[in-house]
Amino acid sequence: MRALCYHDKHDIRCDTVPDPEIEHPRDAIVRVTSCAICGSDLHLYDGFMPGMLSGDIIGHEFMGEVVEVGAANKKLKVGDRVVVPFTITCGECDQCRRGNFSVCERSNRNKAMADKMFGHSTAGLYGYTHLTGGYAGGQAEYVRVPYADSGPVKIPDGLTDDQVLFLGDIFPTGWQAAVQCDIQPTDTVAVWGAGPVGQFCVRSAILLGARQVVVIDNVPERLVMAEAGGAIPINFDEESVLDRLGELTGGKGPEKCIDAVGMEAHVNRSVDSIYDRVKQAVMLETDRAHVLREMIYVCRPAGTLSIPGVYGGLVDKIPFGALMNKGLTVRTGQTHVNRWTDDLLHRIEAGQIDPSFVITHKASLEDGPAFYKTFRDKQDGCVKVVLQP
């Protein structure tokens, strides 16, 4: 089969690789009909995530048709149409039973490695380093889905791939980020980053009733898209984020702040972002934390910081004194996808939201490597790329 494989930093190729096979009775094999390039795939592309090996199949946003089912899998049958959450979950461990699916205790088959790095492992993830299990990813014609009687979400007839594909990651990620804010009708929610997750944060915050939603970015098309979803845009190249947020909140700051940027914050004219870039370049720091610092500074005391943006390692110069003295609540984590999918699927079916709004580019799997660069460089108004194998 054809699949997008990581070879090195900035070197992703569409290779011919062996087809996946059932390895466990709970497995299924899915023929991918649509997959997407995620912002967190760019952390792999840019070489910021450790634990990738040449030849690894990447991609963790995918859906398709079940073509083979393991003997013990009673949930799926050949022909079912499924969206596969990017977190691999056993459905049986203590964390899964509590709904903390992204920290499933059993699905990371390289748990010892992740335990060493993080103290305790997260769940296994598709196509996202050997630290999270080294599972083959979904930017491929076929994928082996482990624990396939737990994670995959069956899709009813009548919904298109474009409408439901993002149930596997970015829609629940944006939704969870907003839910974690415990939004009140009087709240201002500020979202840093108008990429795909930021776009879903904006719409989720609107649906959850925030008084005003503000989005911060410097890519005009993305700001326009966020504005279409109800956000007040701030272009940090053109105006002061702190001044504008002050104006919008009577000088008190937003009650809720969402970091939909993560470890590769844009290097702007601020001293701390240049400092991060230099430290990262000489390998003294792994993640650029400008957004975190700005959120801590600007958030209203007793407010909440919600962090769906991916961080991978170490940051420094975090103003922890401000965080502590302002009494801020921090909520973060990979997305507990299955906690939200039933509800969000219902909302899509009911017409409350159509997630396909975010798709700006479609391409074949063969064109995937070129679109990594297009997406990374935000060329041609690129917000979200969907690949169709």
């Binding site: 900035h10 070197d11 509590r98 709904g99 839910v179 939004i183 009708p185 776009q199 719409r203 989720s204 609107i206 649906l207 959850l208 009733g209 925030a210 005009p220 098309e221 993305r222 326009v224 898209m225 504005e227 279409a228 979803g229 109800g230 290097v267 240049i274 870039r277 230099v278 990262q280 370049a281 000489v282 906690r339 939200w340 509800d343 219902h346 909302r347 017409g351 409350q352 939201i353 159509d354 997630p355 709004f357 975010v358 700006t360 460089d377 060329q379 041609d380 108004g381 917000v383």
Partner: protein
């Protein structure tokens, strides 16, 4: 040369700049003695700072091209400084150093020319109709908050 190879070369030049700069900062007297230019130790240290700044600029920037051109300018400054040593320094050592600088200058020049330009201005796509909602955001505001099914009992 592909743009990616030019970027890799630029990264190499960045690290070279930092290493050379560190050496110039750490051992200016040894260098100036070797060149027979003992009175230029302070200047060599200053050039070391310049090399480190340029190297960090190349490594840290998303657009390293101007920083590589900065290296070319630095090479010219180095050549001019070394030329003053031809008269009163150790001609052999100075000549060899000038040869090395000239070779690096050629590499810098080549790299700077191969590196891509900053993102070009392009027509903006219009996403002002990409609401994702069946109605205006104002109308959709709070619709999920009013829906009893919203919060998972697991949360």
């Amino acid at each position: 040369m592909q743009k990616q190879s030019a970027e890799t070369l630029a990264q190499g030049l960045g690290w070279f700049s930092i290493a050379l700069g560190a050496a110039e900062l750490a051992a200016p007297r040894a260098m100036s003695r070797a060149l027979g230019m003992e009175d230029r130790a302070g200047l060599i240290q200053a050039y070391g700072l310049r090399e480190i700044a340029t190297g960090i600029g190349i490594l840290a920037s998303d657009q390293p091209k101007p920083w590589v051109w900065g290296r070319v300018a630095g090479d010219a400054l180095d050549m001019a400084t070394l030329a003053t040593g031809l008269a009163d320094g150790k001609r052999g050592a100075v000549g060899a150093a000038m040869g090395g600088v000239a070779a690096m200058a050629a590499l810098d020049w080549y790299c700077a020319n191969q590196l891509g330009e900053a993102r070009e201005a392009r027509p903006m796509r219009d996403y002002s109709n990409r609401t994702g909602f069946p109605d205006t955001p104002e109308h959709m505001r709070g619709q999920a908050a009013r829906d009893a099914t919203i919060l998972s009992p697991l949360l």
